[in-house]
Symmetry: D2
Subunit: 325 residues, 4 copies
């Protein structure tokens, strides 16, 4: 199911080497100002081109085909398309000699011979264009909330530039850690249990290809702490806390402090280095050398996607909270 959200709902579709990837946003209130230019900044942050990112260049110009009229949302579903131009179908048969770390093997098991495996098909990172576009709209629905994500570590280093240089040079790749903060969040978003803020954000974040983990506030460090250290003491009548080990969330519900979480992106699976892996035609492991254009550190492009899905979750929860007014 390529759908996420309860009131602010996003549907993504498309394939890497088809004509378009895109999304439909349903449930966006009427009267939200939406112009093509508004998408530019966030799409640019996701775009490849910088050192460590794939040389595949796409225009990434959104085409809004419905739901926006005279630069405002109408209340009807908003569909946005992105044309795929720079596709170059692989000359390699990944169905029979699946690339390690990729979905080639599972896709051909699940979808059989019908899988569109050109450039990763529906599994492609290009579908995150839709997520970023949804995030641009979501941010406009909750303009008072400031969401910021940044890469804070790659390849085990905080000086990220060098480690990326080296990966590029060696035809290898590195992973990274992204930290995301949401400030000025009202108290009371989310619910205990299945609609906890952590449940919804993690659900959305793990929808991004390549994510391996997420932690809120103190995160994995909490296992080393005592209750007396971990508990966030409240210090004023807005509920401000002295520490923020909770990551801004108690009982699944925002407590008005900064929402803070970190997420880890694996090293890009496509590398130029030869790999010894099973060939289902020959029935034995054989060297595989992947051609094509790849990111040495696609974690560089992920922060804006993390922001986007976080905005989608918070916009949805903010709208849901109004049902009780």
């Amino acid at each position: 199911m390529n759908t996420f959200g309860r009131i602010f709902r996003i549907h993504i579709f498309g394939e890497s080497h088809g004509n378009f990837v895109g999304l439909t946003v349903d449930g966006c209130p009427p009267g939200i100002p939406i112009k093509i230019e508004d998408f530019k900044e966030d799409l640019l942050r996701r775009k490849s081109g910088a050192k460590g990112t794939t040389p595949r260049q796409e225009d990434d110009i959104p085409e809004i085909i419905n739901g926006v009229h005279k630069n405002f949302s109408t209340g009807a579903p908003i569909t946005i398309l992105f044309k795929n131009k720079n596709t170059r179908s692989s000359d390699y048969d990944f169905k029979h000699h699946p690339r390690p770390g990729h979905a080639d093997f599972v896709a051909s098991e699940k979808y059989k011979s019908f899988n569109d495996d050109r450039g990763g098909g529906h599994f492609s990172g290009r579908l995150t264009l839709g997520l970023v576009a949804a995030g641009v709209i979501a941010k406009k629905i909750i303009p008072e909330i400031k969401i910021t994500a940044k890469l804070i570590e790659a390849g085990g280093q905080t000086n990220i530039s060098e480690v990326v240089d080296e990966a590029v040079k060696n035809g290898n790749s590195v992973g990274g850690i992204i930290e995301c903060s949401a400030k000025n969040v009202p108290v009371g978003l989310g619910e205990p249990f299945f609609d906890s803020v952590e449940s919804l954000i993690s659900h959305a974040v793990f929808s991004i290809p390549g994510i391996k983990g997420i932690e809120f506030g103190s995160g994995f460090n909490a296992a080393k702490m005592k209750g007396s250290e971990h508990n966030d003491l409240i210090i004023d009548n807005n509920g401000k806390t002295k520490t923020n080990n909770s990551g801004g969330i108690n009982g699944g519900i925002t407590n008005g402090n900064e929402i803070l979480f970190r997420t880890v992106v694996k090293p890009t699976s496509s590398i130029a280095i030869q790999q010894e892996t099973f060939n289902f035609t020959s029935g034995k492991t054989e060297p595989l050398k992947i051609k094509g254009r790849h990111d040495a550190c696609f974690a560089l492009r992920v922060p804006v996607i993390i922001e986007a899905v976080t905005a989608c979750v918070l916009a949805d929860l903010n709208m849901i909270n109004k049902t009780w007014i």
Copy 2:
């Protein structure tokens, strides 16, 4: 929304100090053998009583009120109740002097004066009884899959016994890390993007009170690895891999290797040590001393809950996969 799942759907309800907590399972196939005794083992693992867990003792005997006939599921919704017996309403006003780490503050902001705050109300860990019961049923739907979770670290130690002793002695608490494995999983469960196995498992896991993070396979360590180290090379025609950094999942879909994830539980928020925190009546921080019966390390009781929600996710995905047969 206290509901989770698409075909195998669970609904939880109840409060800590009401008469019952419970759950309804909808979508369970007819013909699944279900007896009261089947719940015993898993409920016992969740139960308090051992060192480091709360002395509040409940029978935790499930009452199946519908959906099971002659010891088999009928295909109708299954509702199970657990009577709350051992309730002891607090003599402390948490609304005005909220306990650090707890949901007291957010609950009174979100639900206003209508919140049932006796013993944590709907936020109570007692609702996880419903999760465990759902897990017992889910495990029966996918009997071939073996799911095992265990506490592998607490308070920063792998020798867990001592660290718990010390916390009990000091009226303090410690967190822990739980590792969960699912073996013998068929290839092809899950979908790319929003219904990725990671998205659904993390969604369910973060529904459990006190979880601060989750990581699959290599997890946060992936940020320190190179693609050439991280990629799992396939070594046979079942898709078995040499390493398991993917945690058994590629592109959101199970690859037939062991699903492996770790999750972190925070130290119990209720501690006997006095805490200096804001009192909304006096308008200043004041010492708070929490009475009552608490777990020094409630992480000890969480592994079976992690297993349960994992089983619910996999049972649901397994049923969904059949729609394409």
Copy 3:
């Protein structure tokens, strides 16, 4: 799936001859006043006892087991149980000699031998107790909207008393037509297409056992009308119309005029008259004589159920509309 609604969600469960039938309402705002006595009037209207209704007598006293504290909803799920007391399991094997008009045949095909067929099991009209209880709560969420349903015809007669007398005398049964009106509805509830008010009301109404049709405003008569007769001319600046062929709904959205629809209830399937129908054991048609206690005109008990599901739909839509505020 025994669930209905998006924000105000109801889950029903139970069997005719189990210990309980019940429901959980999720998404009810906190602060709605709810007392046991509030359910009395509507439950009494649904109750059997009057001429033409089954002599099976149940107390129908709701037991609110969670979600209400000090006579107000808390914001947590509300679960209500109704004890089944007056059960009398049939001595007849409906699995092999299915009753005409009943679900016996389909249930044994769908749920196989696992179906709980005592008294109709999960198919029982007793589950509508949950619908009526949900309706009582829903009506409190939208107190300004006045919903009224009444039986306007039975057995082809508007003088209903006589036709029911005759059916009782002959061991036969009759159907009827119920008209439902909702007054003082705000403009703007519902959406075009799948969340049209007609879609949602009809979905809910056909969930009630025995409903064979529904028509809004002009209904089936519209097929005989010309556009110039059917169009409702607007006569004031509140959108009041001269006629109400639209039944208060345009383009799926309420227009502020009275919502008006009629629905038809079939004659009770259980009759005392002998019926010649297939016996799957003998492999031929054989006389079937149904013992037990039945309604000669269960349509008499349906109006309050129609009101209830209508209230659930309108309460849900009213809450959803606030998400755009």
Copy 4:
């Protein structure tokens, strides 16, 4: 919410006078043969052009932009677009002088000034193109089930040709009744209560603009029948019944007999005859004369849409039934 279905899910989007209308189908199994030509016949049946239908001519050529590869569904979402070419924006201000029978008034109340009211905007019957396209795919998923809908009455006549001629001549319009049959349906689709076949079909049917009522089997006539007449006696071991007053459904579940229902379409709201209706600018009723191209009997175009949504419901239920295998 412009989404319908649980496993086979359809999402529709677009506006009458935007660039495109379209749909996304999610959950379609891989391996379903899909070619552009397959849509031709059903789209042609929906198309205008015949006597009594609007002279607005559109190519209605579907553009499949993803989810189909080498003429087979891939398992990924399928998005289909239809270009709007023949748009002619109205020179009349419907916001202030709303057309009787149309959504003009409710749309401007609900979406305020942001509503895209060109040609009806999102309310347009052109969105049913998406429904028809979804139906073409759904029919392929359940090829054994034969679904046929036809107009059986218009303007109160079964000789439909004359009554349409007269409506065209007078600048007026007529409604009609459509009968839909589904043959060769397996026993066991659907569920009691909220997922009853009647609930789901009626939900989908009322999503089609202009529908005023629906009745299954005996329908409204059931109110005039006795139980002894209405009950369908089973006559063979496949569950075949002597009569079909149930319309092929008992307890919400298909019984293997023909599913049979009728639905009524109102007369087209747009007529050439002058209408005296409220003008919100002048604050009084004033004559309104609607220009433009309209159907005198759009019921002529609806049968294929009824078939389509019925196919979507049955395909979805058929897939859901497999989850219990």
